[in-house]
């Protein structure tokens, strides 16, 4: 059986992981490569690296880091942050990334999704969608790190990017992100049912039951969390054992 994926997300600034704390077994938790290797050993199914200070100058540094990560870890990983052109993606894939995640650039230029899919294949194009619910608007897509509301209703945008060639959707609920109150099950379920490609639930994970709900209730294909793993509030082996008991197919 295809298993549900558990994905730690690492934010990278100036080539270092942010939000990390000291890990007993790791010499340097700020070193993305050390941290990535540790997660791979813990049973993470994939990793996401987001370059949170992506300027043109820094993107070059990031590509070097991606190369270093690819050299050392033997599980798949996605990279994102500030990608706006085919050339950016080429650089990152050549460095050894398996997938790229694009967000604001897709909103600004939907044709980019199509160009990337035809050039590199849908399997490496993840479209990240930041979404927020208000009673007045329903679930809408936000861009520019969640600061700007777009015209797009979230389900419509998800369908649109899949039609353009996205091979996966990374859905982050801004209402839930950082709350530790659980994933946004309703919109995750709605997207998962609306599109034919895998959906990663993101934002709000606070305990093991939240992951079980994302898979069993919202039908997500993968679930992503950052600080919950980084601060070791939740260990991946424990999480996977719990999920298995809850009837979720996981790789142990």
């Amino acid at each position: 059986m295809l298993t549900k994926r558990i994905i730690p997300c690492l934010d990278i600034k100036d080539g270092r992981t942010v939000k990390g704390i000291r890990f007993e077994n790791i010499r340097d938790a700020g070193d993305p490569v050390e941290l990535a290797k540790w997660y791979a050993e813990q049973g993470a199914d994939e990793l996401v690296f987001l370059d949170i200070t992506a300027t043109n100058e820094e993107r070059k540094t990031f590509a070097e880091l991606v190369r270093d990560i690819a050299r050392h870890i033997d599980i798949p990983f996605t990279v994102g942050g500030g990608i706006s052109a085919v050339a950016d993606v080429e650089l990152l894939l050549q460095a050894g990334a398996d997938k790229v995640s694009i967000n604001s650039a897709a909103i600004k230029n939907p044709q980019l999704v199509k160009d990337l899919a035809s050039r590199f294949g849908s399997q490496c194009v993840t479209v990240a969608i930041d979404t927020k619910y208000t009673e007045a608007t329903g679930w809408k897509v936000y861009t520019r790190a969640g600061t700007v509301e777009t015209e797009w209703a979230t389900v419509d945008w998800a369908k649109k990017v899949v039609e353009l060639g996205a091979g996966e959707i990374l859905l982050t609920s801004m209402n839930n992100d950082g709350t530790k109150a659980g994933f946004a099950l309703d919109i995750t379920k709605a997207i998962s049912e609306a599109v034919s490609v895998p959906v990663i639930a993101s934002g709000g994970a606070g305990n093991m039951q939240h992951f079980a709900d994302a898979f069993n209730k919202a039908h997500a294909d993968a679930a992503l969390a950052a600080s919950l793993f980084h601060f070791r509030e939740l260990e991946i082996p424990d999480l996977k054992r719990f999920l298995k008991e809850q009837g979720v197919e996981v790789r142990i």
Binding site: T3, D45, D74, I75, C124, G167, S196, V197, P198, D221
Partner: protein
Amino acid sequence: MDLVIVDYKAGNVQSVMFALERLGINATLSCDFETIKSADKVIFPGVGEASSAMAQLKARNLDKLLPTLEQPFFGVCLGMQLLCQHSEEGDTELLGIIPLPVKRFETELKVPHMGWNQLEKLQSPLFAGINEGDYAYYVHSYYVPLSEYTIAQTSYPEPFSAALHYKNFYAAQFHPEKSGPAGSQILKNFLAL
């Protein structure tokens, strides 16, 4: 050992190189006929879309060379599909080495088939040390049906060819270079063939 990776600008070349490097093997990346012909073993990676990959191979005349090779050969992911006869992806004529079709998943499940899935009915030295039910990483929308050349299968939801063996040509639909310790073992097994 002289190991050559076929260079036709496939997306996962770097990952395969790094995986071999972790095994202590320095592979040569080349599209040169003599270099490929004289290699002890050849690895043929690939991700992306079938018709563009075939165009890249043809641009280097590799479509003429690869079917004539006689040393142990290992096609990975799209590199496996390209060895077959015809793909539904872009209605593409492939290298025609292994007489099998490549079809698109027709299922209610999500496509691409993306993530870790289990290897079953293992029947090749390629899987020495690998247990039934061990996991491998997949990401693909097209598949090769079961056949007499199938040496491992995976189900999504129906069983399909996880790996093939035909004459000197071995191939895997999953990504050994991204499949953790099990994947490394499979690469090691190929190198030991």
